[in-house]
Symmetry: C2
Subunit: 188 residues, 2 copies
Amino acid sequence: MPQSKREHLIDAALTLFNGYGYNATGIDRILAEAGTAKMTLYKHFKSKDDLILAALRRRDEEFRLRLSRAVESMADTPRGRLLALFDAHADWFDKENFRGCMFINAVAEFANLSEPIQAMAAENKRLIRAYISELAAEAGANDPDALAVELGLLLNGAIVSAQIDRSPESAGQARNAAAVLVEAALGG
Amino acid sequence: MPQSKREHLIDAALTLFNGYGYNATGIDRILAEAGTAKMTLYKHFKSKDDLILAALRRRDEEFRLRLSRAVESMADTPRGRLLALFDAHADWFDKENFRGCMFINAVAEFANLSEPIQAMAAENKRLIRAYISELAAEAGANDPDALAVELGLLLNGAIVSAQIDRSPESAGQARNAAAVLVEAALGG
DNA sequence: TAATATATAGAACGATCTGTCCATATCAAT
DNA sequence: ATTGATATGGACAGATCGTTCTATATATTA
């Protein structure tokens, strides 16, 4: 299983990075969780930073896929999907292993070092905004990007509030604000 | 100068924690910046975590004081002050040493450890919301707390966007959204 | 069966970090 | 002038971390 070992390492890394942070999670802990040897890790990744980057890459793909699937399953109309974004986040906040956004946390930890990690985080946020912009365009917004930026701000604000205040209800509060913004952008 | 040494240590710690993060900033670096000896630090604080906590306490006081002063100097009407919150944040984002919110970053780094730090961050966000709620009440909102929560979400969203995307303009975008919410809450 | 690639466990290394200890120096107050 | 509190600089211990290395085992393929 040549590919599988690599995936197991990324799996374990994602779980631990999410639960305890990047610096606080040691290599040995990842190896124990993945059930692999140290040399195997360094065969697949040239450093811990490289593993972090690979993990964030997978996180980005999975997160956006899960988000879009949840949104589509929750609402039929384009306008409804814009608000379903917040319901999907509410479900996320309610999970017991919720520890905030892994990209926000990564940028916080690697303050000015590690440009690739910063770039990966910015890319994730950019792609999510692009997805929201698509939804806004389908809903008939005449400036989809502007609405997407504003809803993105509310989503990120809800994430950090849920994390800091341990208040999953921030998703609903953000949804209330989003409803007003959507109403204003699309007309009653 | 018995009090001053302590203050110098907190000053240096704040600067370095903001610039490089909490874990990445070693004790020795703080000592060099503050120009004090190691034993002096451990006379005033019983551990690095204790110093972090003291620094965050000072940050909380100074930040809220600066914010309220900036808001009051920027607008005369209560309604104008609600929007001036975002202008004050715009000035902050433009500073070259802007590295995001120190409380958001602290919670990101100390994922589940260090309850006192988590509590300090939650307290800071709570006090800011309380201040916004005061402004909203003065502006005549009939549910000031609800409006304060929503504007707080936009502020936090703007902070992390400015940090991740290195886009100070997120303050203006949040302000646009806030204007719509304020309009809806206070009536045209 | 033999050969090749890959995984294993864990020792070892160098670097870094927090926190303690010590002997010396400074300075204000009696 | 002497005392007592406080600061200094640096050595030190103890722990942890990322990374490299060695030697052994396993499994696939020719």
